[in-house]
């Protein structure tokens, strides 16, 4: 049956479009409610004979309630290795990580509690932390932030505050580290970088102008994985300060640091 007019009238087309709009807006609405609404709480079922609920997030806080096997709980939040849970009857208390790992989720599998591990350490990108140490004869406090470009190469930004006997310095450096064996627990690295150092001579000695010089450095260090998301670092830097005088200054820098990755 050949006809010029399509079987759908304009009215029907309009209604379909309205229907489409409603379904799309419902989807968008769903998106926004998901964005601003609190996520639903994770449910778990006690699989051990019992679950101890402490009054606080620590092993010293007394157990005030015991949840029996088969009862379900809601996990409200986590602080360090302790979980705030709510029972079906509304009691709230803190449960330790070991006992939490022995609960089952709604599908009957053990509740998955993921903590950063060595695999995450190997796959890390960002790393940040603080150093304390000696810079020439002064004390140093430094903050650093690094980004792993590959397993071996890390770009790093360091901000250092040095408290010397004759001057206080502020240094900002950027450099590249090469880690020799990133899979080791303790892995050495070598770095090169450059930056600026602002030198403020102590005001009580002599009133001189602050000056800002460029510096270059090489570094040797080691990074050790402690556990979870933490690492320790030790580093030596040989700094060369390109002064406006005839000879460059060479300053040694030793420091120890605590860092975490994410």
């Amino acid at each position: 049956m050949a006809r010029d007019r399509p079987p759908f009238g304009f009215g029907a087309l309009l209604q379909i479009m309205v229907l489409l709009c409603i379904s799309l807006s419902a989807r968008a609405d769903n998106f926004f409610t998901r964005l601003f609404q609190d996520d639903p709480l994770r449910q778990a079922v006690v699989a051990d004979p019992f679950l101890d609920m402490h009054t606080g997030p620590g092993v010293g806080y007394p157990v005030f309630h015991v949840v029996g096997r088969g009862e379900s709980i809601e996990i409200i939040k986590r602080r360090t290795d302790w979980f705030l849970v709510r029972t079906a009857r509304g009691e709230e208390g803190w449960v330790g990580r070991e006992q939490m790992l022995a609960t089952l989720d709604t599908a009957g599998d053990p509740v998955s509690i993921r903590d950063p591990s060595r695999e995450d350490y190997a796959a890390r990108h960002w790393e940040g932390g603080a150093f304390i140490g000696r810079f020439d004869t002064g004390s140093e406090i430094a903050l650093f932030m690094g980004y792993g470009l590959t397993d071996h190469l890390t770009a790093e930004l360091t901000l250092a505050n040095v408290f010397g006997s004759a001057s206080n310095n502020f240094a900002a450096t950027i450099g590249m580290n090469h880690t020799f064996a990133p899979e080791w627990w303790v892995s050495p690295y070598f770095g090169l970088g450059t930056g600026v150092i602002k030198i403020n001579p102590k005001s009580t000695i002599i009133s001189t102008e602050d000056r800002t010089d460029q510096l270059g450095y090489y570094s040797l260090g080691a990074r050790g994985y402690v556990g979870r998301r933490f690492l320790l670092r030790a580093e030596y830097r040989g700094n060369v300060i390109f002064t406006s005088r005839n000879d460059n200054e060479e300053l040694h820098e030793w420091k120890l640091g605590f860092a975490f990755f994410f």
Partner: protein
């Protein structure tokens, strides 16, 4: 859901068809509906002779009914981690030789485990005058901008005595008595000074995520502004409010 939409569309189709008077379209919609499963479509049975031998062998290998159960995909909600604690404090800072001043600042802590935390803090105060300046009417030792006292500190804290406090019969609040030790810098009297600090504090959790702090700390640095070089003790007592997130 899909069937519902389909039925709706077909109703629309039917309405359109009525309006333009195409009776055949109704027939088409019936054919369409049969696809929905509302009307079981009749199929011609296959000729018996053709498959008579094959199924007997395959039947042993294949289950009678192919289960078409889709695995339920459950999105497990994330557990809210609250290891950071941030807030502000106000208090009194006794700056050695320069009297006591009001101090205020901010703190950010990260709790590594139930015992240990790392803390960064920044504080501001304005130093007063020395007794020499006040009594003797001598010249001012420091310009106004050099009396601005700014410090930062990176500390390690230990929750030495966790516990609870009880108010009345029905209220218990978690608390912790903690010890801190750290390094930092103080910008005072024209110089940045390497500063050691140590102190004790008491944290009371008002609810799961808000805490009140009472802190007492000593900040030590070398100073030679009054002639001889000495270690200055600057004692600070403060009251703070923090939030866990």
């Amino acid at each position: 859901m899909e069937t519902g939409i389909r039925v709706f569309l077909l109703t629309q189709l039917g309405a359109a068809a009525r309006r333009i008077g195409i009776a055949a379209l109704l027939g088409l919609s019936v054919v369409n509906l049969s696809g929905c499963g509302l009307f079981g479509g009749e199929k011609e049975p296959p000729p018996l002779g053709a498959e008579a031998e094959e199924p007997s062998r395959e039947a042993a290998d294949q289950p009678v009914i192919e289960p078409q159960v889709e695995r339920r995909r459950v999105r497990t909600p994330e557990i809210d981690n609250e290891n950071f604690e941030a807030g502000g404090f106000v208090g009194i800072l006794g700056i050695e030789d320069f009297g006591s001043s009001g101090v205020f600042g901010a703190r950010l802590a990260y709790h590594i485990n139930e015992d240990i935390f790392l803390e960064g803090s920044y504080g501001m105060a304005k130093a007063g005058t020395t007794s020499y300046e006040r009594l003797g009417g001598g010249p001012r030792l420091l310009a106004d901008e050099d009396r601005e006292y700014r410090y930062y500190a990176l500390n390690l804290g230990w929750n030495a005595l966790p516990g609870e406090i009880f108010i009345g019969e029905n209220r218990a609040y978690n608390s912790a008595f903690y010890v801190t030790l750290g390094v930092g810098g103080t910008d005072f009297a024209g110089d940045d000074r390497f500063t050691l600090n140590g102190g004790v504090g008491y944290r009371i959790l008002i609810n799961d995520w808000v805490a009140a702090h009472f802190d007492f700390r000593d900040y030590l640095f070398d100073i030679d502004i009054l002639g001889e070089k000495k270690v200055a003790h600057n004692l600070e007592g403060s009251l703070g409010i923090t939030m866990f997130f």
